[in-house]
Assembly symmetry: none
Homo-oligomer: 184 residues x 4
DNA sequence: AATGAATGAGCATTCATTCAT
DNA sequence: CATGAATGAATGCTCATTCAT
């Protein structure tokens, strides 16, 4: 087995089991078994179970934000926001396991210190929003409210799409955008 | 101590501790201690820890829906929806502990059979939404999407208000309503 | 309810439940419930659960030995022994609950001090046996061995009769008597 | 410590404690302590306390029946039966702890499914008895009665020998055999 | 005597983590 | 690096017994 392959298998098994049984109902021994690895091996790659959870959560959150890089190149408008939104939604729909775990992770006590690791995106997004408000593209709402609204709307929409298997996308984005777009 | 007082204290202690430490990281012994009650007393009022969790979650969910009764009397429009939305938001803001637990509970595995107990509200809300769509007050979106959007937007907004302590309300409701209102 | 009636009901319920679930798997609360009596009432009539068990065991043992009174009037011989044996067997067959519990009780740790309460019968039986040996009616075996053999043979036989529902009796007694009768 | 040594020590400690305090009054923690092993170690070797009890009971029952193999080679008669009986008695007298536990185990609720594991001996013994009846060596009693009588007589006799430390054997076997031998 | 809510020590079992091999 | 037997603190739950009413 190639080096680091075991770590990968452990993370994959953890993801699967955490979704099936919940984080707190998944013993590390079971993760090891699922990963075809000895009990102790898990503790070579992760100091504690919490470390494993954190690393899994953080890495998935980062992956979910890949498309963000495109957004910060452009300025905020219907098209750029829609593109960003669509890419994230598509990622969620195509990675339901990772997505599902991300939700569980975010609302768990294990998320505590994770925000420190993804602060840049937040800041940059806030900057873009402020710019959008100044340019009268977005309503004059607190930027933090808009970014939060974005997240919550996105999370709910992905869940809805996964459940209903609908092919619709644009109308869902408009629900979001109509809520925050500038009107006089 | 008055009858049923102990049960109340147990529920209050559980609420507090579940929010502080998470449901799965709160031993029943700690709940008992916090409630100034013996270990076994908890099991007089609740058959199992899961029963305690369920009863707490269900009762809070019901409480949070009290204002719903007003809504179903009227028809869907800006005013009636806003009134409903405002009352629920106010409940959440004024009961942050209950609110916080409700969120944790809803996304937990302990929520499984609870929906059976609060299905009417969902159905009635869907009926109201369908009516709103027919009357060209709301966009022609899947009713389930609108009701889900309502929930997710409401949850996020309460969180935002609690964190920022802002006095704003109306602009937040408009964020929601502008997203779903009918336009030609 | 007549005085002492509750005590009787408690004993009856205990007998039933001890047989159904085993002594150690029968909570006193369940006995109370079965007897339609409050939890605390049991402890008015019995200082502890062990006391209840002992009293039940002892009283049943005594009852099972009622027929013994006839035996000690006569001297040991085929007829008198058979009569005694038959009466005890019949008692066991007709009181399977009491019989069953008696077996459980005898082989339990709760039996410890009970023998002190039924020593007379034992002694008198031993005297009768010694007499029987002297008179060349019984083999020259240790009297204690014969009395123990009597018990064990009796217990097994009752079990056999209850299980098979056979009407036979005499041939079973002969199995015992042929084992101990004097032959030259 | 050699592999499987811990399991052995756990079984030995359990045997000792079950006899001293009774199965239901022996906590698994005490067994572990007596075996100089951690609490959790017991659960590596036995899934539950019941499993430990069953394995202990079954293995001892099997050991007690070793001498049975000789018996089934021969046909039923005074000598062969006596040899079988003597060997079993000797095993009981020499292994009073195992013997004592076996009795407790047999009359306990934990014995339920154990008979499935030792059914052959019973069947073979019944066959031998039937043969003995046909050949007019044994009385015409129900074979099941004879085999049960054998057991109960054997159990009582071992108890008697252990208590009295007598060296006698033959006279006790005759008690049994005289009870069942054919006479015309 | 009767009640039954309350008590808290006790128990079976789990599981994150370690460490000798 | 890898293994997996071993550890023991921690947990959900039970139940004999008490005592205020």
């Amino acid at each position: 087995m190639v080096v680091e392959d075991k770590k990968k298998k452990i993370l994959e098994s953890a993801l699967k089991l955490f979704n099936e049984k919940g984080i707190d109902n998944t013993p590390t021994t079971l993760i090891s078994k699922e990963a075809d690895v000895a009990t102790g091996t898990l503790y070579i790659y992760f100091k504690t179970k919490v470390d494993l959870i954190s690393e899994l959560g953080t890495s998935i959150q980062e992956e979910s934000l890949t498309s963000f890089l495109d957004l910060i190149e452009s300025s905020v408008g219907y098209e750029s926001l829609e593109k960003f939104w669509l890419e994230r939604v598509e990622w969620g729909v195509n990675n339901p396991d990772k997505y599902k775990f991300m939700i569980q992770f975010k609302s768990s006590p294990y998320n505590i210190n994770t925000e420190d690791k993804i602060p840049d995106h937040e800041k940059k997004l806030l900057n873009l929003i402020e710019e959008g408000i100044k340019n009268k593209i977005l309503k004059d709402l607190p930027p933090k409210y808009i970014s939060g609204f974005f997240s919550s709307h996105y999370i709910f929409t992905v869940e809805y799409i996964i459940q209903t298997k609908t092919k619709e996308r644009k109308i869902f984005f408009e629900t979001f955008f109509d809520g925050i777009k500038y009107t006089n």
